[in-house]
Symmetry: C2
Subunit: 493 residues, 2 copies
């Protein structure tokens, strides 16, 4: 299982590339690369085969008729070969191994469901590159990196699997995914309901588009996580921006910051400081996403309830600038150096060397335009209004494309999804991405599950002794719904 080491930075970290700020939008993600942390799955010696399917590069046009090899992982140890169900992970913006490793839920329930597990890699990520190493060469070759093409890949692949695997012809297929993968799982059910009988969409911000939710809700949740995790904590972060601004105005202050934060490269000018602050902001957001109740290493190796650990250093917002920022360093050091092996902190550490980051940046600059803003009053961040014009300009500079603000809501129905069925939307109360999630039952078969103590798709992770009751109960409910969908399918045969 090489992927954890390979450095994909995880589904949500990547999502962050599109944060409202154009600086952030163009800034590399901040997750550290190369940390050798033990992934949960790698302890299991996972038993699956790696396979490839020749997909049309363009499902929606005929001028480009070539195919590429889509990677998928298949585990059938527990599969009932007489029509047992297929749990299908709708791969998101990264190496499929990463999601295979971090979706322990599927492995945990495989035996109970007598299910085959399939993890399908999203085109343009991992090994599934339509034009090989040239896939990101220009906007012409990137043209087939869209959610619609990815969904068509999944539909075609599932049809192929059912047609060719003996015993799978009448198998019920359930789509499962987290984050963008959860969006894809839900959309797969919406657009191809004959292909999947239902979908588990975990932490899927399908409504983080246009004006469907307030753009400031995202940062409010991050702020609240810090607010609840220690006295003075969110206030300390809130005050840190001015402290940085004060200090960084002069060369001496930038030197002091660089040294205090053990930066690998010193801050030399105002632009560096902007990146530094964006990097700090991403750190707080990432912490909110992976604020799991036990030691884990999804984006970074981290202790249990990492924000509580972080907040221990941030209990006194009344300190002067330097004392406050020294504490801020100790706090971010929890995130970047939990193992104690990190020599220096690199604010361009998560530079877009990983295909995943680049791919998501392109997607955020085309279809996945998610308005996010901060106001600096309700939240602990510097004010940053949502500015589509500036966002679009940056996208054009970076990729030569113009984002389409209203396309996703047109294509996938926005909030008017009540005529669909069999989708579970789960969201965690600690997860900033829950701001764009579905939080109410829309119909009897379009249901919402809320996990107050959950960070980003905690429910998809392996069961753990320290799981809060809410996630245990959520998984039970999810299993119940999935069984209903399967039962209904098999009865209908």
């Amino acid at each position: 299982m090489a992927s954890a080491e390979r450095g994909s930075s995880g589904p949500l970290c990547l999502l962050l590339l599109l944060l409202a700020s154009s600086a952030l939008a163009l800034k590399p993600a901040s997750a550290r690369r190369g940390s050798p942390g033990t992934s949960h799955r790698s302890r299991r010696a996972p038993d699956y085969r790696t396979l490839y399917y020749p997909q049309k590069i363009d499902h929606f046009g005929f001028d480009e008729d070539f195919t590429f090899k889509q990677r998928y992982l298949l585990a059938d140890k527990h599969w009932n070969e007489n029509g047992g169900p297929i749990l299908f992970y709708a791969g998101n913006e990264g190496d499929i191994d990463l999601f295979c490793n971090n979706t322990g839920f599927m492995w945990d329930v495989a035996e109970e469901f007598q299910a085959m597990l399939v993890f399908a890699e999203h085109r343009y990520y991992g090994e599934s590159l339509p034009f090989g190493e040239e896939s990101y060469a220009d906007s012409k070759r990137l043209n087939y990196l869209t959610s619609e093409q990815a969904l068509a890949d999944f539909a075609v692949l599932i049809r192929y699997l059912k047609a060719t695997i003996p015993g799978a012809k009448d198998s019920a297929v359930i789509a499962i995914g987290g984050s963008y993968g959860g969006m894809l799982a839900a959309w797969l059910r919406m657009k191809y309901p004959d292909v999947v009988v239902g979908a588990l969409a975990a932490s899927a911000p399908i409504w983080q588009f246009e004006d469907l939710v307030p753009c400031d809700a995202f940062y409010d949740i991050v702020t609240n996580d810090f607010h609840k995790s220690g006295e003075g904590c969110s206030e300390s972060v809130s005050k840190s921006w001015n402290a940085i601004n004060n200090l960084s105005a002069k060369a001496y202050g930038r030197q002091w910051l660089s040294k205090t934060f053990h930066l690998c490269s010193p801050l030399q000018n105002k632009e560096d400081v902007l990146y530094f602050k964006a990097w700090l902001g991403e750190t707080w957001v990432n912490l909110a996403m992976v604020n799991y109740p036990y030691e884990a290493d999804f984006l970074q190796p981290l202790p249990a309830w990492p924000i509580q650990v972080v907040c221990k250093f941030l209990n006194d917002p009344s300190l002067d600038d330097k004392a406050l920022l020294k504490n801020i360093f100790k706090a971010v050091n929890v995130y970047y150096n939990y193992t104690g092996n990190t020599q220096c902190l690199n604010i361009s550490q998560a530079a877009t060397v990983s295909l995943g980051d680049r791919g998501w940046s392109y997607q955020a600059c085309t279809e996945m335009v998610m308005p996010i803003c901060s106001n600096g009053i309700k939240d602990m961040f510097e004010p940053l209004p949502w500015d589509f014009k500036s966002y679009a300009d940056d996208c054009f500079k970076q990729w030569g494309v113009i984002p389409r603000l209203t396309w996703i809501t047109t294509e996938f129905g926005g909030k008017n999804i009540s005529s669909h069925s069999n989708i579970v939307f789960s969201n965690g109360g600690l997860d900033p991405w829950s701001a764009g999630g579905v939080h109410k039952n829309i119909t009897d078969t379009l249901v919402s599950i809320f996990i107050p103590e959950g960070a980003h798709h905690l429910d998809l992770r392996s069961k753990h002794a320290d799981d809060p009751v809410s996630v245990v109960r959520a998984r039970q409910l999810e299993v119940k719904y999935m069984k209903q969908w399967i039962k209904k399918t098999n009865t209908a045969l």
Copy 2:
């Protein structure tokens, strides 16, 4: 209303371009051009505005970001400006005026529904040309001629209309279409159920794909129409092919045929004879499609129950070759010369000078691969097996593209459509395209209406004193379902 004169050959005639035979597939449609016949709508002095909307040329990719002007017709004479419904015609493969003219049903019910009527032109037809006169120049520019792009156009346009027309924000929109337009109406409801509350899909052969229906059912229906319309009639047609083969083997015979059939250009070689036979075959098929109970001029000006008129000349199959073929000429002359003004019959008369024909030929060579075959035993045609290889080869020669046999069933679910809702599939018992239609109620809200005496989407035509009871009843049912959908929508507001 210039379109009837302009020469689009009608929705189903165009569909015929893809008949199983590669000769037929590449042969121009046979509807006569330029016949000035009075269209039903033109008698009404239709009251609508012609408008244009800038559509993205490529909804599913970002490299091509330009727009084109999609034409649509809007009639709001009867519209209740306080949220009245919108009846939306999903334009098919031709000039939108043609469908506006031949969908009298919508005009007939507009007042009762207090509805706005919108007729949206399908991209690459009529005036809605993405690259102007160059739209058909090569496979690169034709790349955006797909049903998915057309559906996206419709969804975007409806969203725009609802957002910009005062009072339309909460209007229920119902998609209506016949033939390929009926397929689009059904698919629009399936793929964009938030955009249209329901669909009336008249004579929509959504199952004429892959192996969903027997490929020979289409010609069986044509044969049966002739069989029922006069003694010896289908037998006469059946025998005519050998008679032609016998005579056309020699130059003298070809001369005789050319003269007897008043052909504009004489048959000079075997290839001409193949075209001649394909043209005859299309004539019989077209007659079956427009076998309406009253004088009409959808594909040609024709008498009431035209096949009965045709069959009066074909009551003696025992005649010798020449006598039989003289009668065949009299029969086809009913189709091509009902007005008595035709000087000669042109077997390339419906040559692909019309954009409509060319567009459908391209669509048939890409997505719309509809297997159709004849066996010469159950049907009155020469045996012609379904040969995808040969079909694909011809497509590549003609358009430089490779048809995808299994794509439409993957994209639109094949026969597994039960999770959708609010679609009425109507089919006529006389219509060969009913072979690929939906003939049973799938659920309470996916219903089938059968019109035994109906030819191709007779129900969409204006009401007429000579309408059979079955079509009157069908329209009543359609109105009932449409009212249910609207009522449910308005209640849900």
